[in-house]
């Protein structure tokens, strides 16, 4: 019950945040002092995107037992799809003024647009690719991997190999994605300039809504019979298989869904930070996502979202205030929370609340209502 209430609180806080921004920045922007400035807007927007990514990872890791060390790949693919759309929107305003080719292609003496850039001038196409690019990759990868019953650390490491290979590939200038510099210098989105505060507010609001939506959808999905089977797979894969379920199908659906949500997070992230480059594919970035989820509370979608926000807020705080020593704080935070908060922040809070109520702490990790 308490756990439920905590979750509702997280949910409510996000709604409150969105409502606040909506009221303060959109409805009554004139009332000075209450509106968030553009620095806070982009930074909160970024946290929300990371929270979506954490929810996506928790869906497969927390509920289905698939530890993906390659979720940054799906995130980045979504980001690149968005970035390609934004690049095409620059049009003639690029450095070299070429009507079609992005600057880096002009620079590398490319004669024409490579085939995989076609269509990205239309928002609907880019919007589809945000989901399909990571989705198809996840489908192909998952279809092979789950059918061959690759599991445990083996699966984790090959997801890592996947994102590592993609990173190396995107670093290559010959690939046609801008190499190390990636995609940057974006001008506008759907015709509105990205540097205007209005667009920033809407981007942040959409990130908030997307987070709510993905939380809501995942929760609904997990409440169905499908979700029950997923948890069964997590707890004992072979037993579920012996019961007659095609385990690989369930895993595949969850994996693809998760990849699509991650892609959405990436797509919302890119216009807010203004750059996407292959560094986002790095295996360490994926491990960080795992850390957020673990810290927030694996097996709880809200915990994952909370973990992402807490870790990133801590990072922002420490890199600004203790630039020389922030890694000590962050590292210590990971170690201590693992040792003393085995069920993550949300789990610890639940236990605490239960103890206050005089009840024994719950043992189960899932606690789906």
């Amino acid at each position: 019950m308490i756990g439920l209430r905590l979750r509702q609180l997280v949910f409510a806080s996000i709604i409150a945040l969105i409502a606040y921004v909506f009221l303060a920045n959109v409805m009554f922007p004139a009332s000075m002092g209450v509106a968030l400035d553009s620095y806070s807007l982009t930074i909160v927007g970024k946290y929300l995107c990371f929270a979506i990514l954490a929810v996506a990872l928790d869906l497969v890791w927390g509920y289905c037992g698939i530890l993906s060390l390659g979720h940054a790949a799906f995130f980045s693919l979504g980001g690149y799809a968005m970035g390609m759309y934004l690049m095409r929107q620059i049009g003639e305003r690029g450095t070299y003024g070429h009507p079609v080719l992005p600057d880096f292609m002009v620079f590398l003496n490319w004669e024409q647009l490579p085939w995989f850039w076609y269509g990205f001038d239309a928002f609907w196409f880019a919007g589809l690719m945000i989901f399909f690019a990571p989705g198809i990759l996840a489908f192909v990868f998952g279809w092979f991997a789950f059918r061959s019953r690759v599991s445990g650390v083996y699966l984790s490491i090959i997801t890592q190999a996947l994102t590592y290979a993609l990173m190396l590939a995107f670093f290559r200038n010959e690939m046609g994605f801008g190499g190390n510099n990636g995609l940057t210098d974006f001008k506008d989105l759907l015709g509105y300039p990205l540097t205007s505060d209005g667009v920033r507010v809407w981007l942040m609001l959409s990130s908030g809504l997307a987070l709510l939506l993905s939380l809501f959808l995942c929760q609904k999905l997990l409440a169905t019979k499908f979700g029950r089977v997923l948890v069964a797979v997590r707890d004992s894969e072979s037993r579920t298989r012996f019961l007659g379920y095609r385990v690989e199908h369930f895993k595949l659906v969850a994996f693809v869904m998760s990849a699509m949500i991650a892609g959405l997070a990436g797509a919302l992230y890119v216009p807010q930070v203004g750059i996407i480059n292959p560094g986002e594919f790095s295996p360490l970035a994926s491990i960080e996502v795992v850390v957020w989820v673990a810290l927030g509370g694996r097996g709880s979608l809200y915990g994952a979202a909370l973990g992402a926000i807490v870790v990133n807020a801590a990072k922002t705080f420490f890199t600004g205030f203790y630039p020389e020593a922030w890694l000590f704080f962050l590292g210590a935070m990971f170690v201590i929370s693992t040792l003393y908060l085995p069920r993550g922040i949300l789990g610890a809070l639940e236990d605490l609340a239960q103890q206050v109520k005089g009840k024994a702490p719950k043992l189960s990790q899932e606690g789906l209502s």
Partner: protein
Amino acid sequence: MQTRSWKRTFKNTIFASAVGLSVSLAHAADTIKVGVLHSLSGTMAISETTLKDTVLMMVEQQNAKGGLLGKKLEAVVVDPASNWPLFAEKTRELLEKEKVDVIFGCWTSVSRKSVLPVIEELNGLMFYPVQYEGEESSKNVFYTGAAPNQQAIPAVNYLIDELGVERFVLAGTDYVYPRTTNKILENYLKNLGIGESDIMINYTPFGHSDWQTIVSDIKAFGSAGKKTAVVSTINGDANVPFYKELGNQGMSAEDIPVIAFSVGEEELSGFDTGPLVGHLAAWNYFMSAEAEVNDEFIEAWHSFTGDTARVTNDPMEATYIGFEMWAKAVEKAGTTEVDKVRPALYGTAVPNLTGGTAVMHTNHHLQKPVLIGEILEDGQFEIVSATPGEVIGDAWTDYLPDSAKIIADWTAPVNCGNYNIETQQCSGQNF
């Protein structure tokens, strides 16, 4: 109760930290804030930490001289952690939250590209102290490092004229600076009549550590009857294993000299230079330059770091020049307001550390001497060649047909960083 306190914590997290500590530290009116945007962790910390210390030293010196405009300077250091999106975020933090008057920062091209939109939007002022690929001139950035014509072209001229090189290996890390430099050099060499088959271009990923194959390829390429040299734009970290492999495979500077654009005193202090004697580097400054002002700078650096073994290098000189210029321009303008300081910077001259004078031009680039140095046993450079005068930095290279027709000039009537003299149009600007 618990729930409520938790709620408070939660709110604090979101609103205090996330909102970038909206408990904004009251902007003290009696200090001038200097933002320092260099990575202190991650892969670039190796190079950038030194520059952070340089800025801190300059701030300290300026304060000892009584500050600027009667105010003390205050350095605001943040750590963008070698993470490119974080560079943009931290720039915004410096400009919006900390309200700094100037930023010294960035090293890699991608970090600069990431910072550009923010600094242009908020009309900040940044000094960028590293040699770079050119093809850019932002209203809000002053480039105190070398443009390609201040490093690459004179270096190749030296190879051809002094060493009689006829065959070139252009080896670089796969990112925009080496790509641009190599493209310019390839064009330049072909115009000099050097054939396609005498140019070998090779790109490696960041942090490449296994150079066995590439070094033996270079060796094979170099044994074709013509004097061969390597022009290296290999980035920082990958250089140590590269040079170690050169030494071990016995490729001496007399056989195949390597001229590097990213290897300076500091990179050399990370390894044993014994086998590297005679390999070259092209910069605008070497620690071994003989000038009074250089000795003073080195001494100040040693006493600031408390370590007499610390070396100085070219990006440090660029930081030094940038800082001195900014201070001078602020004095001239009588304010730190960007729109007043910017015009005051044009034509500002300060002594550089090699005994000459650095002047800021209206394309936001400096005029600098180009020096060629040979590596000595002790990790220092012997200056073997210097351009007779200072070379003016060219934002848009003349050696590529596309950019030859573009100029940058931030004064009237052009007032543009990307002005096509053929079509008389200004493009690619964000405002």
